[in-house]
């Protein structure tokens, strides 16, 4: 297992580098200049600007600039936010836990819905339950997260008045009260993201189950006289989950996309809303760093999926 993890890490590294190249190319190709602000500022004389350009090496060949940028990123020197006058890495570190908590909770919710529903649908294909679940999954899959968010706000905050629609990061209450408030304000964002994921995962689980349930070894298990429940849970589910893990990992970029939208709707102080704020205020260092963090998170979750894959399918680890 150790060497397997090591090999996977070696594979993840080039993709990280690839993404950094893509990011840097995009930035280098973009019109405009990080020193535009200084250029338009009449108080900064032209020679100072040229000196600064030389000092930061903006006139060097592009590959030199890339390696300098990369080594700075690796050393944790992520620059300085134009707007909030704080180091970018501090700003991001403050925000990442919130994002991860919301995403984590919604993924757990999605799994709690998708696994039982998908498994039961596939165990009784084309039954009433399956038809209703499939239709609902289709609807959930077609409802964009920003619209579900607004619908939930309308229903629970405006019509019923049960839940707050703005996420507040400093709740004055303490103890149990604090947890209760935290739960109340997290329900809607987690629901929005979780239900959307649950809809697509239900489809994956169902079709992966249907692929496995027809295989010969399942028939063998049935003809041994095992109970249907044991056949499904012990023989089918474990093998059906293997492709699902890959599909779930492939969905991670979409999950982060959904998280950006959700954070923006409910004003959750995570890195998604940080990104939008930074874009609206032209805060380039923050934008670059957050995009890079998103890329790292996607690759990290892909790595976890690979490891899970190896654990679920022992044939892979020793190949």
């Amino acid at each position: 297992m150790g060497s397997y993890i090591f090999r996977r890490l070696l594979i993840a590294l080039p993709s990280l580098l690839g993404i950094s190249v893509v990011l840097f190319t995009v930035l280098a190709l973009a019109p405009g200049d990080p020193f535009e602000e200084l250029a338009t500022n009449p108080n900064v004389p032209a020679e100072v600007r040229l000196l600064l350009r030389a000092k930061f090496g903006l006139d060097d060949p592009i590959w030199q600039r890339y390696f300098r940028w990369l080594s700075a990123m690796v050393q944790g020197d992520w620059g300085f936010s134009f707007i909030s006058r704080v180091d970018v890495d501090k700003l991001i570190l403050q925000r990442v836990p919130v994002t991860l908590a919301v995403i984590g909770a919604s993924q757990i919710l999605a799994l709690l819905i998708a696994l039982p529903v998908g498994i039961y649908s596939a165990a009784k294909p084309y039954s009433w339950f399956d038809r209703i679940a499939s239709t609902l999954a289709f609807i959930g899959f077609s409802l964009p997260t920003f619209f579900t968010g607004l619908l939930l706000i309308y229903l629970f905050s405006i019509t019923l008045g049960w839940l707050p629609f703005v996420y507040s990061s400093d709740i004055s209450a303490t103890g149990w009260q604090w947890w209760w408030e935290q739960l109340r304000q997290s329900i809607m964002p987690v629901l929005v993201l979780g239900l959307f994921q649950a809809a697509s995962w239900t489809r994956y689980v169902r079709s992966a189950m249907l692929d496995v349930i027809r295989l010969d070894y399942v028939t063998t298990a049935r003809s041994k006289g095992l109970k249907e429940r044991v056949v499904v849970m012990k023989h089918v589910v474990r093998n059906a989950l293997i492709p699902v893990v890959t599909l779930v990992a492939m969905q991670m970029p979409a999950v982060f996309g959904g998280a950006i939208v959700t954070e923006q709707i409910f004003r959750i102080p995570g890195i998604g809303s940080l990104l939008i704020d930074a874009i609206l205020r032209n805060d380039t260092p923050v934008i670059m760093a957050v995009t890079f963090v998103f890329a790292c998170l996607v690759i990290f979750f892909n790595l976890i999926a690979d490891l899970l894959y190896g654990w679920l399918d022992p044939r892979i680890s020793y190949r």
């Binding site: 990011l23 973009a30 409802l143 997260t145 996309g257 950006i260 995009t291 998103f294």
Partner: protein
């Protein structure tokens, strides 16, 4: 492979039928998928409304009327008005054209890039294939929305200057959305090429001296069309969602172009006083995406001749 499961336990193999053309057979299979058929009718109705509607409903999209602010649906304004008293029906009809145009154009872009890369990877073995697949995997693991936002942030001003605000933003959004949706198509096409290029009819064409280009364009590509059409259908829906998301975040089209996402963005702060403002564009996006997804599902059944129906 879930498609191989019989439609019901009692389904018997289909009885021999008289010969019919492929297109008619596909249409018959598509018709068996009731939801897909219903969706097709609904979607065509919406397309018709969006294109013919503005000729019948002749209210300008930017007619400001402060006496009719935030009015719920009424006879004068069937879908109500927004905070400037602008007619929502006219705006939604107009926005539908843009959303559909973006969806179709981005699909075209995604298919063009995907089919080209998939075909090149599929016909050439070895290092070219490996490099292209590495590129595909890299693109698949990119965080799409953040990068979309980044690209739009960086290039929006430049393209605005070059092509004007509307065309510039349209081109940018189509290029960027299309540029992030080609990977599944490329994989599909490559996989199809791998099996098709070994088929006897391709071998026959090769034996007759057909050039590689002719083999690809005349013999292999037409046979990969089925899955590509399905992927393209789903791409239209995905592109519409992507465009609405961008507009919803305030980073899509400029405010004077009322796309569905943009109307939602403007409406979201008035949910308590004018819920209708957000509901109608939201429902429009939802219905379009839902019907397109159902049609894609129906096409998947219709274009897979191996599936027993």
């Amino acid at each position: 492979m879930a498609g191989l499961t019989p439609a019901s336990v009692t389904a018997s193999p289909a009885a021999p039928r008289p010969q019919v053309s492929l297109a008619r057979e596909a249409w018959r299979r598509f018709g068996r998928h009731k939801m897909a058929l219903l969706s097709l009718i609904l979607l065509l109705t919406m397309v018709l409304l969006v294109f013919v509607g503005p000729m019948v409903w002749k209210v300008a999209i930017n007619d400001i009327d402060f006496t009719a602010r935030l009015k719920p649906p009424s006879y004068a304004h069937p879908l109500g008005t927004d905070d400037l008293g602008q007619d929502l029906l006219a705006r939604i009809l107009y926005g539908g054209r843009i959303s559909l145009a973006v969806g179709l154009a981005a699909m075209g872009m995604a298919l063009l890039v995907g089919v080209t890369i998939g075909a090149i990877a599929g016909i050439s073995r070895g290092s070219v294939d490996a490099a292209l697949m590495w590129l595909t995997d890299l693109f698949l693991s990119l965080p799409q929305l953040p990068l979309l936002l980044l690209l739009i942030y960086l290039f929006r001003e430049g393209l605005k200057v070059l092509f004007g605000p509307e065309v510039g933003v349209f081109l940018l959004i189509v290029l960027v959305i299309g540029g992030f949706r080609w990977m599944p198509v490329a994989r599909l096409v490559r996989a199809q090429f791998f099996s098709l290029r070994e088929k006897e009819y391709v071998e026959a064409a090769r034996a007759l001296g057909a050039s590689t280009l002719r083999q690809v364009v005349r013999h292999i590509l037409p046979n990969t069309l089925g899955p590509v059409i399905v992927a393209g259908t789903i791409d239209v829906a995905a592109a519409i969602i992507a465009e609405s998301t961008l507009s919803f975040l305030g980073l899509g089209f400029p405010p004077d172009i009322p796309t569905w996402g943009r109307i939602l963005f403007d409406a979201k702060d008035y949910m308590d006083v004018a819920p209708h403002w957000a509901m109608f564009p939201g429902i429009a996006i939802f219905l379009t995406v839902l019907t397109i997804n159902f049609i894609g599902d129906g096409l998947r059944d219709a274009l897979d001749p191996r599936k027993v129906m």
